[in-house]
């Protein structure tokens, strides 16, 4: 990331938001595309900026997520978040995935400085925490996660974060 040369008074927060990892996942999203034999899927729409993602899951009979893919278009934050989501949940059980949903959305939304999720190691997903300084962008970072919950709950309608 070539942010060193930025000529902005308070560029640090921007650098936190657009970390190299985020830009990398935004440019080259992992598991991008349709999943032919998905058992679950859900759409996420953020009408504010037109972000629109579709998440596909292949969950086996033992409730383990065998595969996850997404397609759609969105800003760097929402695409990177979706990409990181697929990396995180493949191989997890449904229950574990939902626990991740809760931890990630809580941390990104409230920061949760003292709550039960403050100590959770989010791993790579910590790269998303830059959004906390950008309240208007929190919904971008959580969009794919809401789609995940919606897919696992098999909600029929598209989910919106507005």
């Amino acid at each position: 990331m070539n942010a060193q040369g930025l000529n902005i008074g308070n560029a640090q927060e921007l650098r936190e938001l657009y970390r190299e990892l985020i830009l990398d996942h935004a440019r080259s999203p992992r598991h991008f595309g349709k999943l032919p034999h998905a058992t679950h899927s859900a759409e996420g729409i953020n009408p504010l900026c037109g972000d629109k993602l579709k998440l596909y899951l292949d969950v086996d009979d033992a409730s383990n997520i065998r595969a996850a893919c997404f397609e759609g278009s969105g800003c760097a934050i929402s695409v990177a978040s979706a990409s990181l989501l697929t990396e995180t949940i493949i191989g997890l059980s449904e229950k574990e995935a939902i626990a991740w949903f809760t931890a990630v959305t809580t941390r990104l939304t409230h920061g949760d400085p003292t709550g039960e999720f403050s100590a959770v190691d989010l791993g790579k997903l910590e790269a998303l925490e830059g959004v906390r300084e950008f309240p208007a962008r929190v919904k971008c970072a959580t969009l794919a996660w809401h789609a995940l919950r919606s897919a696992l709950q098999q909600r029929p309608a598209p989910v919106s974060t507005e």
Binding site: N2, I8, G50, K52, C75, R137, C140
Partner: protein, 415 residues
């Protein structure tokens, strides 16, 4: 950083009007605010705020219903605002000025009270590909309710209406043409006088969505010869929650009321109700009194500056902005019609507009990003959204330079 050309800078470098607007005197994220989002909602001059505050502090009461002094003062101020608005758009009569909560309500009123009772399956409603959702969805609803069909006149890749196609679609099945004055996504100004003349030759009434017309140019509804003209207070430096539906008196006379309630009646009994005269028949309930008074003050302000001066200032600034943006490597201008007003949409490299918006905001530059409530326009270009800079009389060349600098920083961040 490129320097603006000296000659241009002289005329548009400083807008004297900026100081009239209290909100613009602030820093955002540590930078003096550059507000380039007036097409979404404009800021208010102090004179509008003062008029509203004065009303709330000394004259407030309900209107049309009271004999006491406050009620009389409130009614006078409210009705004077109607007179100002009538003069502002040169309507023939004050009966033709229906006060609404905004453009959206104005258009819904026409869809429900004018169209719904008189159309059915086989009939058509004609709009264009450039419309704002507020000039699409009300017609979709009325089509659903009646079985009528919605026709859409196409645009070209510069964002201009394809007039021949529009005219081909005008047949005697078309019961109304609803068309914007200025596209809020692309800035295109449509050749309304010609279009309206063609429609009228075929007996098709025309509604103009003037939300983006009113603040930028002098409007004369009699000269335009439109049948309906809808606009919002908050886009012309007035308060939110206010708007106008101009409608020809002879059409209003044939329309049933839109909403029922106080003020829109002469007599109510359970056997039957007599509606009030125009325009009151279409104004049910306690109106947005303070807001309308503010809208009247906004008219005063606009007229004190002069609509011709505003149009000229904005046109020069738009030219300057277009030129400066074009100089940026990787920019793609969306909406390049020959005849445009105050608005430029664009994309930069493959940076998503939402990310651009955040990066610019961090530098104190407020632009709008996304679909601008005009998703069909985005679909046409195959893009999820654009970044949009929109100008008002309080903007100046420095604002444009700050925009360009901020875009350069965004390029660096995403490089």
């Amino acid at each position: 950083m490129t320097q603006p050309q000296q000659d241009l800078q002289d005329t548009i470098a400083v807008s004297d009007y900026r100081q009239d607007f209290p909100l613009l005197q602030q820093e955002v994220n540590g930078h003096p605010l550059v507000y380039l989002d007036s097409a979404a909602s404009a800021q208010q001059p102090a004179s509008v705020m003062d008029a509203v505050a004065q009303y709330e502090r000394t004259d407030h009461a309900n209107v049309h219903r009271g004999v006491h002094s406050l009620s009389h003062r409130a009614t006078d101020a409210y009705e004077q605002a109607r007179d100002k608005l009538r003069a502002f758009i040169n309507a023939e009569s004050r009966s033709e000025i229906v006060l609404t909560s905004g453009t959206t309500e104005s258009i819904n009123l026409v869809a429900q009270s004018y169209c719904r009772p008189r159309i059915g399956s086989g009939d058509r409603i004609l709009i264009t590909h450039l419309e704002h959702h507020s000039n699409i969805v009300p017609w979709q609803l009325v089509c659903e309710q009646t079985g009528a069909e919605l026709l859409v006149a196409p645009m070209d890749s510069r964002g201009q209406l394809v007039l021949e196609k529009l005219y081909e679609l005008m047949t005697d099945k078309v019961k109304i043409l609803a068309i914007g004055h200025v596209s809020n996504a692309l800035g295109t100004i449509h050749p309304l006088r010609e279009i309206i003349a063609r429609a009228h030759a075929l007996g098709i009434p025309v509604l103009v969505d003037g939300a983006q017309g009113v603040p930028h140019m002098a409007i004369d509804v009699q000269d335009l010869d439109c049948d309906f003209y809808a606009f919002s207070g908050h886009k012309m430096f007035g308060p939110t929650g206010t708007g106008v539906l101009y409608a020809r008196e002879c059409l209003l006379e044939t329309m049933p009321p839109y909403q029922g309630g106080g003020d829109m009646i002469l007599e109510v009994s359970f056997e039957g109700t007599t509606y009030n005269d125009l325009p009151y028949k279409f104004e049910a309930g306690t109106p947005n009194i303070a807001g309308v008074i503010g809208m009247g003050a906004a008219v005063d302000y606009l007229q004190s500056v002069g609509l011709a001066n505003i149009a000229e200032h904005e046109q020069q600034l738009l030219d300057y902005m277009t030129r400066r943006l074009t100089e940026i490597d990787g920019i793609r201008l969306i909406g390049t019609a020959a005849n445009k007003a105050s608005i430029q949409s664009f994309m930069l490299d493959d940076i998503h507009s939402h990310d651009l918006g955040t990066i610019l905001d961090h530098q104190g530059v407020a632009i709008r990003t996304g679909h601008h409530c005009a998703m069909p326009v985005m679909d046409y270009f195959g893009i999820p959204g654009t970044a949009r800079a929109s100008l008002a009389l309080y903007n100046n060349a420095d604002d444009v330079d700050r925009l360009v600098d901020a875009l350069e920083q965004a390029k660096k961040l995403f490089a």
